[in-house]
């Protein structure tokens, strides 16, 4: 069970010796309770208490890092069942699968895609996370060779999929030091896979159908000294995955089964069902997903869903407030005010760019709130608009003092005119209508 800070404080030595790095035992207790300190740093705890605190204060789902360097990713550390309860934390890694039966050329092609394919979207770069190599041939030599081809292309996270420890060893000889995910330990090969995972310090997936078998296997791997595990419940249908992964998440969060406190693996290579499987994995608790390299169109939708679902509901993706130029605006061109909610900005930008209108956008800091919610909550008001006009020296850029407010901010227009001394035009509510509005209204009232 999770402990509260005061419960933890009661079992600490209360010496305030500062040896843990925190000024008082109470501070240390609060840090432990929020998972930001390690019970092991207190030298005065007996072993039983230390273990108790470790069990109660480490995250309910272990953080597992896959790969090294810039493209590496971490999963786990999730704390809720529903994103609206707080937020999902680490977006699931998505990896393209290749087979060691494919030619070097084919493998290189997929690897290049993983390396280079990137979709910029509302200020973020969306891409797949790595590559999975599957030992379809059964030959250790072919498997090692396929991994080498991938290694020659680039350095990104890998999943090594083989049932035979001999094949796995051959692959690990190529890339074992780069934290690939070993897939998978099963009831048959458990000992050998654990030995390999320990030798390379690599994360290990355990695969068993059904939650009890999985729990048993994960417990054995942990006891064998492999700390970083990933659970593959080997579902036969989408429905079975949903049920099992929900149960794993529930039990892990309740800390009722420590052997289930690991990220979940999902095989999304079933032909014709890739999109549905990836979607479900994103929505329902997958941490690592392997799929066949699909079309860029379908991949973009998958990655966009992942971006949507892993956006913190309390903290929308934001833009830095300031002046943004659309096209090549000159002095006298329109000035539109909008909020620093990324979606608002990029939606508006899309329509403006499509219409080839040059203008200035003044993004004011509404902490990522949309126009409607910023007006309702008072975050968007005449004082902050006046301050923003001054802070960003807007007039020096535009050469005029006419400001277009979003339609939903219409109630503010009088007060904004008064507070700023600028002329205010009220634009449409819908970004799609902004270009037409500028064509018609701006020309009529144009200050230049």
């Amino acid at each position: 069970m999770a402990l509260k800070a005061l419960d933890i404080y009661k079992i600490l030595p209360k010496k305030n010796c500062k040896e843990c790095g925190f000024p008082t035992c109470l501070t240390f207790a609060m840090k432990l309770a929020s998972g930001k300190a390690d019970a092991g740093t207190c030298p005065y705890l007996d072993e039983a208490t230390r273990q108790l605190l470790k069990g109660a204060t480490q995250p309910p789902i272990r953080r597992v890092k896959i790969g090294v360097g810039e493209r590496s990713f971490a999963v786990g550390e999730e704390i809720v069942l529903f994103r609206h309860d707080k937020s999902f934390v680490h977006p699931p890694g998505i990896l393209f699968q290749v087979s060691d039966r494919e030619t070097a050329e084919e493998i290189r092609g997929v690897a290049s895609r993983v390396k280079d394919e990137v979709f910029p979207r509302i200020g973020e770069l969306l891409r797949v996370n790595g590559i999975a190599i599957r030992n379809d041939s059964g030959s250790a030599e072919a498997f090692g060779k396929a991994v080498r081809v991938v290694e020659e292309t680039a350095e990104f996270p890998e999943v090594l999929i083989a049932g035979s420890p001999t094949s796995m060893e051959a692959a690990l000889a190529e890339c074992g030091n780069y934290r690939p995910l070993i897939h998978a330990a099963t009831a048959e090969n458990l000992g050998a896979m654990c030995t390999l995972a320990k030798r390379y310090g690599a994360p290990l997936a355990v695969r068993a159908r059904g939650i009890d078998a999985l729990r048993d296997l994960a417990g054995k791997c942990a006891a064998a000294g492999v700390p970083d595990l990933v659970l593959d419940p080997a579902p036969e249908t989408l429905g079975e995955f949903l049920q099992t992964s929900t149960l794993i998440r529930r039990r892990a969060l309740a800390r009722s089964a420590p052997e289930l406190g690991y990220p979940v693996y999902l095989d999304a290579t079933v032909p014709g069902r890739e999109q549905a499987t990836l979607s479900l994995g994103i929505l329902k608790y997958a941490g690592v997903m392997v799929t066949t390299p699909g079309s860029p169109a379908s991949l973009l939708a998958t990655l966009t869903l992942r971006q949507n679902i892993y956006t913190d509901p309390q903290k929308p993706i934001q833009m830095t407030p300031g002046i943004y130029r659309v096209g090549n605006p000159a002095r006298g061109d329109p000035l539109l005010l909008t909020v620093n909610f990324s979606l608002t900005y990029f939606t508006l930008l899309g329509y403006l760019e499509a219409s080839r209108i040059s203008c200035f956008l003044l993004l004011v800091d509404t902490e990522g709130f949309s126009v409607l919610t910023a007006v309702a909550s008072g975050k968007l008001n005449e004082t902050m608009i006046r301050d923003s006009l001054q802070r960003f020296s807007v007039e020096a850029e535009t050469g005029h003092r006419t400001l277009v407010l979003p339609g939903y901010a219409a109630p503010l227009s009088g007060r904004v005119e008064e507070a700023t001394g600028w002329k205010v035009l009220v634009g449409p509510r819908d970004a799609a209508e902004v270009p037409e509005f500028l064509e018609q209204s701006w020309k009529k009232t144009s200050p230049g």
Partner: protein, 320 residues
């Protein structure tokens, strides 16, 4: 394998479509809702195993997504033939007719609207959703005519909103239909509208919640979470939210990613965009998901079936 459940509420049931035995002319009757657990979990025994897929058509395609118009050609100008195609060729469970002709500035031909509804009823035997009036000034006339044209057929009429629900409620009550209650991605407003409808006499078993669904990449996550929260609140016992949910993301096929796609890629973009709002909505608990691209129907239905395979339920209602 199920966890002991703390739920106390059950999602109410709504019946759509009336067969001859029930005084209508539909070939099938659906019962939606009825769930006592989170979507697709083992405890679930809803009246239909999987969500229903509604195919959307309109009577004036001028503003309909170009990617659909290209696909369906002349059908877009013929609601009756289009509805028949939705049933026979696309494999839809429901047809949702948008009376987009009422969005034009001057709608003179209200009798024409009624004839359109009648012709669609004659062309397909599937239960229908009718989306009336684009203008509050003619709501009363439009809904009255739609209600009358489908009397006894147990239509689902759309769309009631907080400041616009009386005419549609009146038509639903007079002719025995159900209504869609739409609120802007907000669980409290959804609840409030349901209460308003109840106060003027619309029973809970005639209400389907539409929480409004943003397109993928354009606020979809807000809609997704509101749908999860509605289901959660209903299972926790809030009777004013314990209605089935309908999800439609009307902008899916006109977002920039589809509009600006290279021609060779546009269709796959469109299908992917529609899929990634429809299927996740089903995962969040929507009982009816709406699509506009003909090829989306099978894609979304297959995915939903894969999710509900093995669940207890009555396959005849809601399909397998």
């Amino acid at each position: 394998m199920a966890e002991p459940s703390e739920w106390t509420g059950t999602i109410g049931r709504v019946v759509l479509g009336a067969t001859r035995g029930e005084g209508g002319t539909r070939s099938v009757q659906y019962c939606i809702g009825g769930s006592r657990d989170l979507p697709f979990l083992p405890d679930e025994v809803p009246c239909g195993k999987r969500p229903l897929i509604a195919f959307e058509i309109c009577d004036d395609p001028a503003l309909w997504p170009p990617v659909v118009r290209e696909q369906v050609g002349d059908l877009a100008g013929d609601p009756a033939a289009w509805a028949r195609e939705a049933e026979k060729a696309y494999g839809a469970d429901l047809v949702r007719l948008h009376l987009t002709s009422t969005h034009r500035r001057q709608v003179a031909d209200l009798e024409g609207v009624k004839r359109t509804v009648e012709s669609v009823l004659a062309a397909t035997t599937l239960p229908l959703i009718i989306e009336g009036s684009g203008d509050p000034a003619i709501d009363s006339d439009v809904f009255q005519r739609c209600g009358e044209a489908g009397a006894g057929e147990r239509l689902l009429l759309g769309t009631a909103e907080a400041d616009r629900y009386r005419s549609i409620a009146a038509a639903a009550l007079a002719y025995g239909h159900a209504v869609i209650a739409q609120s802007p991605i907000d669980i409290n407003l959804a609840k409030q509208l349901n209460i308003l409808l109840r106060e003027i006499g619309v029973p809970a078993d005639r209400i389907v919640i539409d929480p409004y669904t943003g397109a993928l990449g354009y606020g979809f996550e807000y809609s997704y979470s509101v749908m999860e929260r509605i289901r959660f609140a209903a299972l926790k016992g809030d009777a004013d939210l314990a209605m089935p949910v309908l999800s439609a993301a009307p902008d899916s096929l006109t977002v920039r990613e589809v509009r600006d796609a290279a021609p060779a890629e546009r269709q796959e973009r469109a299908l992917s965009w529609e899929f990634h709002a429809a299927f996740p909505a089903a995962v969040a608990g929507a009982d009816i998901v709406c699509v506009r691209h003909p090829l989306s129907v099978k894609r979304v239905r297959d995915a939903c079936s894969a999710l509900s395979a093995g669940l207890k339920g009555t396959p005849a209602q809601g399909g397998g």
